[in-house]
Amino acid sequence: MNYCLIIDDSRVIRKVSREVAEGLSFRVAEAENGEVGLQACQAEMPDVILLDWNMPVMDGYSFLKHLRATPEGQAPKVVFCTTENDIDRITRALDAGADEYIMKPFDRDILAAKFQELGVLPASHSA
């Protein structure tokens, strides 16, 4: 079962994202900031990470820099999922190693489309 880690300081966003990801047959774990997210990655590297930008302790951008600095951290597909929707932010995220970018608010179709595009959608949900 594909493993999805959701890193977001909003409990509501984590809950909504979890419901969507579980609906797409992902196994899901949650982290409330980048530091907790890195610990989760050390325990088990996810297939895909949904990552908020603005969070206390460690923000999403710093998390991504740390993650991509390690050889094993190259593997997960990282999807920024944030209210920051200007083109400069998106470009920064891509330069730092993000694979995709979702501008909040989002819905199930958008998330499913991004997962499909990245090739991480579990087989039972692929087109």
């Binding site: 929707n85 200007d86 083109i87 998106i90 470009t91 891509l94 993000a98 995709e100 970018y101 979702i102 501008m103 989002f106 819905d107 179709d109 958008i110 489309a113 991004k114 499909q116 595009e117 087109a127």
Partner: protein, 283 residues
């Protein structure tokens, strides 16, 4: 709206657009045509049907047809047909058309433009491999309203996120307030035309690739067969047709044949190819 009025409306839609509305779709008519009533200051659906029967307003008839057509689409919808374009069709025609360096593509139900623009972006990405090529992308639809939106090329945040890879968004779109507008060089690659598929489309010329996805499902079997036969007639002998995931030519027409290696991809059936016809298809 009485049963007789509903039947009259169904007959009108079928004659005008080919839309085969089943008797259980009364709710759809009521939900979609209420805004047309408001716009034309008509107090009820019964009144709307009477106006259409009287044939007093072309604008009302057009608005009614447009309101009943489904325009749902998104960039790179279903992914597969675009992977096929990039991995199979483009390499094939780059080779087959190397002497003429010309490729003609038709999106037969282009709606708000996401399908032709998706192809245009793929072609732009492939441009370094295609020096000196002349590409025509003709995109047609029955709704002038959606064609205007397509030409303007503005999309909201939800629309640009459904299926469009973020790198293509950054590369080919500009943020305008809370909207995103596709780049002028991509817009310029697509030639939008008003077209009703039940009418003759021979004037469009011959095409190498035809995308006709998720529109034939709204037609009855006879019209579907007729449209497919006429599409086959304007396809190049080695042309390709892409239908929607739930659509097939099987049992509908023998003018086209499924490519067994690629789901949704059809070619002309050489054995049954009819001579090129210029008659408007009857139903």
């Amino acid at each position: 709206m009485t049963e007789a009025e509903f039947d009259a409306l169904r007959a009108f839609l079928k004659t005008r657009s080919g839309l085969a509305l089943s008797p259980d779709k009364r709710y759809l008519v009521e939900s979609r045509l209420s805004s047309v009533c408001t716009r034309f200051k008509i107090d009820s659906l019964s009144h709307l049907v009477r106006e259409i029967r009287a044939g007093r307003s072309v604008a009302l008839e057009k608005a009614t047809v447009e309101a009943m057509t489904t325009n749902e689409t998104f960039f790179f919808r279903d992914k597969g047909p675009f992977d096929l374009f990039q991995d199979v069709l483009l390499p094939k025609y780059l080779k087959e058309r190397a002497s003429t360096r010309r490729l003609r593509i038709w999106c037969a139900a282009a709606s708000t433009g996401q399908e032709p623009y998706s192809l245009a972006m793929l072609l732009k990405e492939a441009a370094p491999r295609m020096p000196g090529w002349h590409i025509d992308i003709v995109a047609s639809d029955i709704s002038t309203e959606v064609l205007e939106k397509a030409k303007a090329g503005f999309y909201n945040q939800f629309e640009v996120q459904r299926g469009l890879p973020i790198r293509l968004l950054v590369k080919y779109f500009t943020q305008v307030g809370d909207q995103w507008q596709i780049a002028p060089e991509i817009r310029a690659m697509v030639d939008y035309r008003y077209l009703n598929l039940i009418e003759d489309f021979n004037r469009l010329g011959q095409f190498d690739i035809v995308y006709c996805r998720n529109v034939l499902i709204y037609f009855d079997p006879n019209l579907k067969a007729d449209v497919l036969r006429r599409i086959a007639n304007i396809m190049a002998p080695d042309g390709s047709l892409l239908l929607g995931a739930s659509e097939t030519v099987l049992g509908v027409t023998d003018a086209l044949t499924l490519d067994p290696a690629h789901r949704g991809l059809y070619s002309k059936n050489a054995a049954s190819a009819a001579p090129k016809m210029f008659a408007v298809g009857g139903r």
